[in-house]
Amino acid sequence: MSSAEVATLPESEGFRIRWGDLAPFIALGVIILLGTLINSNFMSANNILNVITRSAFIAIIGVGATFVIATGGLDLSIGSMLAFVVGIMIMAMNALAPALGAWAIPAGAVVALVVGSLCGLLNGLIVTVGRIEPFIVTLGTMGIFRALITYMTDGGSLSIDRSLRNAYRPVYFGDFLGIPYPVLITLAIALLGAFILYRTKYGRRVTAVGSNADVASFSGVHVSRVRTMAFVIQGFCVAVAAICYVPRLGAATPTTGQLWELQVITAVVIGGTLLRGGKAHIWGTVAGALILEVIANVMVLSDMVSEYLVAAVQGAIIIIAMLAHRFTSTR
């Protein structure tokens, strides 16, 4: 948690530090404080590591979603796409295992990155070349990817080969100097995303296209190309999340990644990225993903809320966080 906050500061140096930009981190701090007060186990190293590690999937996919949303797009297919990429990756690894042994894992990961990027490219091209609203396009591909994973698993589950299971397991459960690999991968992806978004010409075009596509177009920006590329980045991030996801349970099922698109979009918006585009906060997205996971964790650790009402309290906390954000950013 603190690692994300500390890493934020050097990244936002190029901008004036505004309270609005810090809102997601303040909200995260408040929720962590609440969690500590509610249950003393909350701050235990194990619990904190579990929660941060679990939030990696939403955070990694969220980095990609920040690009798409910043260009004024929306991708509803990410949860299903994750399941589809996971399915393809497991099938590729299982097929390659007899020939390559443990090398089937990196080979499968490369397959995943290619397939994920292609899925993103497909979304992007339909949106830009076909000139169809991203909402409709990705609603369609959401159904397609979900049906494909259901078909691939016969409605059951698709498991990774036992010989690969133990070799691959550390990618989720292992750590480097005490920091779990998924956390390191999230940091790497977020740093890369922040670099592209804040330090490159493409990054500036992303927000330019999102704030006003016509103006961007008149100033010589190839709007379609920028938008398509954002979807490709999204697909790539989904594949990275898939690479971290498979070693955890070692299987894909038709419910893998179900409704993750809503969690990801929520994380991005809580993080301060405007849903209508034009403003992007990579580190805010990471904080947003942590907020969602911490809320869920605190709900289980507290005994105050009936199991029937957990979702209602979660929803209320998210709305309160957004209201707080609104008041701090208009200041």
Binding site: N39, N46, N50, G156, T255, V300
Partner: protein, 321 residues
Amino acid sequence: MKMTKKGAALLSAAAVAGALTGAAAQAQDKEFTIAVSIPAATHGWTGGVVYHAQEAEKQLEAAFPNIDVIVSTASSATAQVSSLEDLSATNKLDALVILPFTSEELTGPVEQIASNGTFITVVDRGLADPSIQDLYVAGDNIAVGANTAKWLVDKLGGQGEIVVLRGIPTVIDDERIKGFQDVIDQSDIKILDIQYANWNQDEAFSLMQDYLGKYPHIDAVWANDDDMLLGVIEAVDQAKRDEVQYMLGGNGMKQVIEMVKAGDERTPISTPYPPSMIASAMYMTAAQFAGQAPMRGSFKLDAPLITPENADQFYFPESPF
């Protein structure tokens, strides 16, 4: 979206059951038509239902050449209603075997079909008006919970602290939890916590991690479904919590039956709520027509413990579930 082999080629994903006419054309030398309407394979258990329905279709058609079986899957209650309309419009149905998506919405449409003299077999979820059905085949969710609890009380010597993961808020889930709690309440075993994990492996993994963080000592875990159990096992292994003596599920998922067969110490049993009940229902319905075996009434499949000794009877290696 896997339907009958005959119909499959004609179907587009959207028109769920619009094109089952292909099957009717080939049914000329068949005396009896049995339609089977089930939910599409959207998760492990329904995946098993689809598999077993398709297997039973092949077996029944091979065994009784005069019977034609049409399997139709639907992805929602509304789609199932449309599918029923299409099935009855394009075929003369002698029998309908239906696993209704929801009780209330399907009652009217099924009653409509019954009024044409079609033999109605209802599976798993009952209709709002039981007088419509001729035959009712279902598992026993209360027994799934109760039998697991009895075993656990026995093994833990009537005391200990356990956590429970429940599924999606539905009658099925409520009954399992009730059956379990009623038995546990009579012992000194304390249920530390019960939360929803929506019959989802990932959510079960997260929830179990949180339970392990919250409670320093847990003697046993009951996830009321085997899909969730797989997530639970990963979380416990990761935390290296050796004091967790038993991790139990339910439903009889293939992977878990394999563990039972192998004599796993922490998961030595499961309880069946088998998707193959659709096959039981189809066989009984076929017997009504092909054999001289009247089949009317209610048939409740018991939920006996699956142990290493009898696991073979519940193990279907080809099934997706």
